[in-house]
């Protein structure tokens, strides 16, 4: 198990050390300069979509890499965040004029198809953008808090926790699909058009959203780094490696776990909301077990101990998915399978591990000078 040597010591007291700085700068260069210059709006929008999954992967690095809590249900929070925003956008798109063809104009089209004749009460607050923005983060965090409290207080952990999160993801999917009159069912909430009058479907809007998305992601990365550098981050690692000792030292282990789980949920929710904005719809296919596990794979490919690695991993896997499936529509899943096998066999610590093993020694040789032990990036 890879550790965080610099974190354990934290002796230099800097927010980012030299290699971390280099990694962050490289990522920023890619996201804010290279991709926008190199790609047409359509491809840029695709990368924007990939980056929304990176929010989840960064949250997973904190929960799983640092805290040792493997959640196989991050799709729950991604979905809740995405659905909250989709509800607002759908209400905005469902003006009485735009829905005049329905039996009940002024309600979302899927409600009309399901013989619902009035907007349900719990949809009403989503007319307000302020409420929606709060709800995007608050609803998933509250939900994560409830799950976390129910489990960590009872000292449910490890595999059992993973299985329960999976079960909850499955339950939520079934609930959303079953209550199609209120949620849009399998189809999801589609045909979203404007955000407070701003058409989100145009190429310009998509480019703006891409940069907003990138900025938010770096915000989350900074927050994640802050947590890792803090005393809290060190307690998390201690918990992961020897939970009992931390408990016996007088720490309230459950509270730390709940906190980091909620933080991961908040990141995932922001990703979900940005996903809805950039893709233009939300559907239950992001809530269930399969997408949740996929998100863990992104994190594993990147290296579960590295927040920057998680972003790289997400980009690599999704880019490969798009490229393989465009080139070989009937065989692409074998390509993806080969990629994952390669990750496990050749670089078990993910991209971050590769970087650490092969790239960092090069830097060290270029600039031979005594330095603190390097972190896992």
């Amino acid at each position: 198990m890879t550790d965080f040597p610099s974190m354990a010591t934290g002796r230099d007291g800097r927010f980012l050390n030299r290699t971390e700085m280099l990694g962050a700068a490289a990522l920023a260069l890619l996201v804010f300069v290279l991709l926008p210059l190199a790609l047409d709006p359509f491809r840029l929008n695709l990368f924007g979509k990939y980056l929304t999954y990176a929010f989840v992967a960064v949250g997973l690095v904190l929960c799983w890499g640092a805290g040792g809590i493997l959640s196989l249900g991050q799709g729950i929070f991604f979905g809740l965040g995405g659905y909250a925003l989709a509800m607002f956008l759908k209400l905005e798109a469902s003006t009485p004029e735009a829905t005049a063809i329905q039996s009940t104009p002024g309600i979302p089209d899927f409600m009309d198809w399901n013989q619902i004749t009035a907007l349900p009460g719990w949809w009403q607050p989503f007319h307000s953008l302020t409420f929606t923005i709060i709800a995007v983060v608050a609803v998933p965090v509250i939900f994560a808090f409830i799950i976390g409290t129910a489990m960590f207080r009872r000292r449910v952990g490890g595999v059992y926790f993973s299985i329960i999160t999976q079960a909850i993801a499955a339950i939520l999917t079934i609930l959303i699909i079953g209550q199609q009159g209120y949620t849009g069912g399998v189809n999801g909430i589609t045909d979203l058009r404007t955000l407070n009058g701003w058409d989100i479907r145009t190429d310009e809007a998509k480019t703006v959203l891409y940069f907003v998305n990138g900025a938010l992601l770096f915000g989350c990365l900074a927050l994640a780094q802050f947590v890792r550098r803090s005393k809290l981050g060190r307690i998390l690692i201690a918990m992961r490696d020897r939970e009992d000792r931390v408990r016996f030292s007088g720490y309230d282990v459950a509270s730390f776990k709940i906190f980091v789980f909620c933080l991961g949920a908040a990141f995932a929710a922001i990703g979900g909301a940005m996903f809805t904005l950039q893709v233009g719809f939300m559907s239950p296919s992001f809530v269930g077990i399969v997408p949740s596990i996929e998100m863990v794979i992104f994190c594993a490919v990147g290296g579960r101990n590295s927040i920057l690695g998680a972003v790289w991993g997400t980009l690599l896997v999704n880019w490969a998915k798009t490229t393989f499936s465009e080139g070989f529509p009937e065989l692409w899943q074998f390509g993806m399978g080969a990629l994952f096998i390669a990750v496990v066999l050749v670089f078990p610590d993910g991209l971050a591990g590769l970087w650490k093993q092969h790239v960092e020694p090069l830097f060290a040789r270029l600039k031979p000078r005594p330095s603190a032990p390097q972190p896992a990036e």
Binding site: D40, D109, Q180, V186, T190
Partner: protein, 421 residues
């Protein structure tokens, strides 16, 4: 019942429909056979930058070839490729050979949206044949409207939609339901119905229309139930059916659930060949019977617009060509045939418009006739759906349907049926 000379007759043609029909007729009279590309300079037939060259035109095929829907969608992909190959052999469209870019929707609706955008923005395809589930169509619809693409959508579906950017080559719900219910009440004397289906928009909307129609006829619905997709335990509903003794079980179960449903019906002692109760479905084509097993569904009735066993010259040729291309064991269901119509309808629209421009195709599409359709004869309505006949098939133990009824006229598509909503 056979159909030797397809004769277009319309239930109630409006004045406008008549005008477009006559316009279509006159346009087709002026079109020479064997169009040559040099008569249609690329700059003139493609003013919006689609992927059209002097020799080629690119279209997209967008279906799931991986994931749970691939079983259903593979037939559509095969039919579309067959149609494209046949069109190319005949000289292509406006003298241009059709090339296709195939993308995989992977049974995942957001992937459909992504690939649709890719086809329209990157490949600049002149049209797309694709989608199967309603969910995938709903996901790509905004994309087609935004980038002004043309989608040929093959599946029978719930209606309640009419986009200028889509040609619906399958039936909307009323075309599949009403004639079938009339048939079962008239010839079988059915008085009571038990509705059941998988729980999503298509079965629910279809059963809503069925219920309204049954009630209009003054008959009775004795039960209505829905089960999640993939559900495999139908024993409780089978017991209820035995208790309520309806004359007709009206089943809209989809996908893998079908296998469990029909096997359990048989195991519970409901012998469909005795028709007590009679089973009428709108969701089981020859493709599904492959999974269910002919012996498990022997005696049921299905209401579709196409059956592989249709006896008309068009269909004999179509089935032969299909088997030559994909092997003798292949079966052809209703949707596969509808998918086959897509490239042909697009070709007809392009030739009528004399242009590949999407806006001109939209305008040219209503009124297009296809007398060579395997199902007989179809015609595009102004609402972009097809006029087509409704047929009832009787399932045989060999997995085929025997056609026992067809409407004498083409049924008008009515995606927003008044009085049924």
């Amino acid at each position: 019942m056979t159909e030797k000379t397809p004769k277009p007759t319309f239930a109630a043609p409006s004045r406008r429909a008549f005008l477009t029909a006559s316009a279509a007729l006159s346009a087709s009279l002026f079109l020479p056979k064997g169009l040559r590309a040099q008569d249609f300079p690329t700059a003139a037939v493609n003013t919006t930058g689609l992927a059209v060259t002097d020799t080629e035109v690119t279209v997209g095929i967008l279906h799931s070839v991986t994931g749970t829907m691939s079983i259903s969608e593979t037939g559509s992909v095969q039919a579309e490729k067959l149609a494209i190959e046949q069109i190319n052999k005949m000289g292509g469209v406006l003298g241009r050979q059709i090339k296709f870019v195939q993308e995989d929707g992977a049974s995942d609706w957001p992937t459909f949206a992504e690939k649709a955008r890719k086809l329209l923005v990157d490949n600049k395809v002149a049209s797309v044949m694709g989608c199967w589930t309603s969910a995938s169509r709903k996901a790509v619809l905004p994309v087609f409207e935004q980038y002004n693409g043309m989608l040929y959508y093959p599946t029978f579906y719930e209606g309640l939609e009419q986009s200028p950017n889509v040609i619906y080559t399958g039936q909307e719900a009323t075309q599949q339901i009403i004639a079938g219910l009339d048939w079962v009440t008239k010839t079988k004397g059915a008085k009571s119905f038990y509705l059941l289906g998988s729980d999503y928009i298509w079965p629910r909307t279809s059963n809503k229309i069925a219920r309204k129609h049954i009630e209009k006829l003054g008959l009775e619905v004795v039960g209505e139930e829905y089960y999640p997709l993939g559900h495999t335990q139908f024993n409780s509903v089978i017991n209820k059916i035995k208790l309520k003794k309806p004359d007709v079980i009206y089943a809209i179960v989809v996908g893998g659930s079908n296998v469990a449903f029909y096997k359990q019906l048989k195991a519970a002692g409901i012998d469909m060949t005795k028709e007590k109760p009679l089973l009428l479905t709108i969701s089981v084509t020859e493709d599904e019977i492959l999974g269910i097993g002919g012996e498990n569904i022997d005696g049921a009735y299905a209401c579709m617009k196409y059956f592989q066993s249709l006896d008309n010259p068009n269909n004999v040729d179509f089935v032969k060509a299909f088997k030559e291309m994909y092997g003798n064991d292949i079966v052809i269901g209703d949707v596969t045939q509808a998918a086959y119509l897509g490239p042909w309808l697009w070709k007809a629209a392009v030739e009528k418009a004399g242009s590949f421009d999407i806006d001109k195709i939209k305008e040219a599409s209503p009124g297009i006739e296809l007398p060579t359709a395997p199902e007989g004869y179809v015609k595009v309505h102004e609402n972009h759906h097809l006029w087509s006949k409704t047929r009832v098939g009787h399932a045989q133990a060999d997995g085929q349907y025997k056609v026992v009824f067809e409407t004498s006229d083409l049924v008008e598509p009515d995606p927003f049926p008044e009085g049924y909503q």
